[in-house]
Amino acid sequence: MELITNTRFMLIIASTLLIGIVIGYTIGYYMGQTTVQTTQTTPIQRKYILGVSIALSGPISSICVQWEPVVRMAIDDLNNISRSMGLNLVFEPYILDDKGSPEEALKNAQTFYAAGIRIMIGPPLSSQLKAIKAFSDANKFIIIAPCSNSPTLAIPGDYIFRTQPSAIAESEALAVLAIRENIRSIISFHIDDEFCNVFSKYFKDSFEKRGGRIVHEIVYSPGQADYGTDVATLASFARSLTPDAILYCGYGTDGANILSHAAEEPALRATRWLVVESFYGASEVLVPKIIEFAQQVRMIGIRPAPLVNPLYDEFVNRLRNYGGTPTYCSENVYDAVMIAGLAVLRTGGSTDPDELREAIVQVAKTYYGPGGWGLLDENGDRVQAAFKLWTLSMVNGTPQYVDIGYISDSTIVMES
């Protein structure tokens, strides 16, 4: 009797699931149909689905959730291109949440692959990318990562491309800037993750080569409740070692927390602050307290961007229509989707990985987008050697990120 109820119960569960999935499919199918019918007049349509794996939840979700409108915008742009070229290819995003976890990212990649998708945009973190690398290598699954720039993944011949410029050139540019600003001793304060570790390591190399000195390095762990004590530690060292500046690398959530604590610390108000682009665009940093602090410490940030790029401003403006605000890497996400889509168009909608890989390399050579030139090096990583300098200040009474200059080939130009 017990066994019968068991099996019956399991049958009920299984059938509910099945029914749910069937209903889901039908709804999705018809929804897909209707959207296609309203936007398209040609009867025969080929759907081409791009897999997108971003961290919609989890510790880095505040950044990544802003990428979803970017993806939708890029897909719309691709469809416009496809239509204007008279092709019957319609792109569709397939967005899955990877929670910022390596295991979830791998699961997403496998789900995409089994659904016949051959190109994936994402995941955001280098650690996630590493967890997929073996799968990508074995199955020739193409990944365009918008936000990973760790040199440990600069491996030639694989199926992983990255549209975020390498941290090496950027850290060198910041070192040049620091020397020019008469900064000779620095405390490096950064989050313990791959991007910031790499940045600080390369910064140290180039800074010490130019005669500066990293007097101390403080690393704090990501995903904590609060960073007050870490700021206290930093302040203690800043008081005893009296560095010329503090190099800070962190993201929006921890950055806002740390900067608001730092704003109350006299020892930290007395030094300069150099920051990295990882919290550029984060809205939680834009509070009067932090702006005042940034002014006080003459904060300078760096971010990879071409010297003049009206496409970026246009991108920011258009993104508003999609309900998004630009955050860290959003222009790279746009470029990643565009390069993927253009490569697909170039092959005429192929799913052959080698053909697609070749097309991506070729498309990238001539692609120019909000993140600048798309050219990829032999490791499949974006080449970019121009950087903008930015700070936080009040513009017409609202706190904003403001560009204050640029660096190109060791030439530093400060506006105003």
Binding site: G58, S221, A225, G228, T229, T233, S236, N257, S260
Partner: protein, 322 residues
């Protein structure tokens, strides 16, 4: 060494931890349920304050935020009780089943919050997934009026913390309701036989648990520079540690343990990192190390059970000769 900041941090954190771990112990003691949905109360409490702040155009008074948070947290607690805990209890489920069911509830609430945030984001254009700190206007006003220049969160946490702890003390020790709750905690069957309405009392316990825990959320948004839907999880780890050190039964030890953990996390750690050059990355490991040591060296008495300690101290002792 910047002792001042570490002191302030541990002070505010003590209140946040106390307000969130005392209800955890209280709920376990009364209902014998490991509530894995506990972080939900903190997170929702914080987000109620954030949404209020956004929709009142950054003019949120503390008492309004407290009222709304308390109600929301309390309602979530009661909802959990009615939909999950009571049916499971009636079917005689084991504590582990309660634990996993509340974990399922946690998934639901957590992602419901993400959805709410995203919908509101589309409506307001502000990012809710990471939100800057909230200033309470009434506290600012009082501070200006009496010329108190300390950071606002010290005032807020002291006021709210003292009010809550005192009312909880009065409720538990001076009213019939408190006696009934403690009766239920000591012996459910006996208490039911004595005519204590078990169901109502349980619902009330969950209401209080949810409400008080949610209040720690509104302290949090006042203190921290950024709030995300994940904060409940960060705080709850310490809550569980404190509750376990308190033997899952003693509210006083739980409160002391919360304060001690806040101190360890901040002052002890600052000392270690400044003098021994330890990196902040091992901060959490130190906290867990302390918890591990306390649990192993002085196992708490209480709901834990297990083999009495003396049976394990003399393992391997030789049989004495004739």
């Amino acid at each position: 060494m910047e002792i001042a900041r570490a002191l302030i941090c541990s002070y505010v954190f003590s209140w946040i931890y106390i307000l969130s771990s005392i209800p955890l112990t209280l709920s376990y003691r009364t209902t014998k349920v490991f509530n894995f949905a506990h972080p939900v109360f903190i997170t929702y409490g914080a987000y109620v304050a954030i949404f209020l702040n956004e929709f009142l155009n950054k003019n949120t008074p503390l008492f309004i935020a407290a009222l709304f948070s308390f109600t929301t947290g309390g309602l979530i607690g009661v909802l959990n009780y009615l939909l999950i805990i009571r049916p499971l209890h009636q079917r005689g489920a084991s504590p582990n089943v309660h634990m996993i069911a509340t974990m399922g509830a946690w998934f639901v609430y957590q992602y419901a919050l993400y959805i709410i945030c995203q919908v509101l984001m589309k409506l307001r254009g502000a990012s809710f997934l990471s939100y800057p700190s909230v200033e309470y206007v009434d506290i600012s006003y009082i501070q200006r009026a009496i010329g108190l220049n300390t950071p606002q969160y010290i005032v807020t946490s002291t006021t709210l913390g003292l009010v809550v702890i005192l009312s909880l003390y009065v409720l538990l020790n001076k009213t019939m309701l408190g006696f009934a709750m403690r009766g239920i905690a000591d012996n459910q069957i006996l208490a039911t036989l004595c005519g204590i309405p078990r169901d109502k009392l349980m619902a009330l316990t969950w209401f209080l648990t949810g409400g008080i825990t949610a209040l720690s959320g509104i302290l949090w948004v006042n203190f921290s520079g950024s709030t995300t839907p994940e904060i409940g999880l960060h705080v709850v780890v310490i809550n569980f540690a404190a509750a376990f050190i308190g033997g899952l039964s003693s509210l006083l030890v739980t409160a002391l343990a919360s304060a001690a953990l806040a101190l360890t996390e901040n002052i002890v750690f600052l000392f270690l990192s400044y003098h021994l050059g330890l990196q902040p990355t091992i901060r959490l490991a130190i906290v867990f190390g302390v918890v591990f040591t306390i649990l192993v060296i002085r196992p708490p008495l209480g709901a834990g059970g297990g083999l009495p300690y003396r049976f394990r101290t003399r393992i391997g002792r030789k049989v004495a000769g004739p």
